[in-house]
Symmetry: C2
Subunit: 198 residues, 2 copies
Amino acid sequence: MRPRASEVFFLTRNVNKFEEASAILGGFGINVLMMPEERLEIQSDDLCEISKFSSLRASRAHGVPLIAEDAGLFVDSLGGFPGPYSSYAFRTIGVRGLLKLLDGVSERGAEFRSAVSFCAPGADPLCFLGSVRGEISKEARGSNGFGFDPIFVPEGGGGRTFAEMTTEEKNKYSHRAKALEKFARWFKEEWAPPSKCR
Amino acid sequence: MRPRASEVFFLTRNVNKFEEASAILGGFGINVLMMPEERLEIQSDDLCEISKFSSLRASRAHGVPLIAEDAGLFVDSLGGFPGPYSSYAFRTIGVRGLLKLLDGVSERGAEFRSAVSFCAPGADPLCFLGSVRGEISKEARGSNGFGFDPIFVPEGGGGRTFAEMTTEEKNKYSHRAKALEKFARWFKEEWAPPSKCR
């Protein structure tokens, strides 16, 4: 199942993430194929380390070039928490818990980060980072998106949370869109299988 | 560097944990050798999965039988948070953050859990779980131990936190001691290298 030069697998079980990637990479003429497998994630403070490990392992297992993505919300005044473990924090303490941790805290700066890693058979993984600065709102607003979207107000977004934007609007600011675009540019301009594979 | 039948490596960079294990396993006639390497940890809600992966990987890399341990504090009213990511939560939001999440919450039940996994070359890893029930105190007390010890009051400990106990006292209640004892009993009674190795 070797993809053509303009095709890449995306290791994800999240259909929303897959559709977001399809839309963005499609704009660069790259066709994305979904590989809906469990992604093995290591524990690390560095999103790139996590997504590189996932992409390396899956690429070796399946013998195809693919991308894996890892994302997190890093709150300045909480030492970066919940960071790489945002998904676990969301499932346990949730939006309410994060708001409680920031109760009475005036410094509300935060950053959403996304790390997209690409790995091809025989090559080392490469990581592309995207981020968006913003603030944690005082209360949850909006119902679009997922995770901590209802309390993240991106800079330049007119004070709205990610959950108050349509997917199209969110893609203008989103950390994931930025990381995917960086990857897409590199993939179109630099990557040429199989001559660059070792 | 193949250890004798009554010897086992312990994959840890934490000298306190190593000494705790030496004391407990020594009581069973088992000699512990320190393997002070970075432990590769996966992300999982299951401590056994995490420590099994660590022990398997290190045992395969070094060709020796060894144990790896993973531990966490699971708070009932927070859906188990911080659980497998207790170390990260401690480094970021800290004791103060955990107390803030429980501010005004009357249900303060919690559990410390430890998963000790043993793996020998050619065999599958085996996991031994230990746990201790208790409560999260209203404020931090004591200066012994580490991590969330100053806010964990184990059942049967006379209302003192782990950080108000000596290491010897703590070992009477500790999740890690219980898991290490389970492992030690199995290791002495069941494990006989190399006949049981596949």
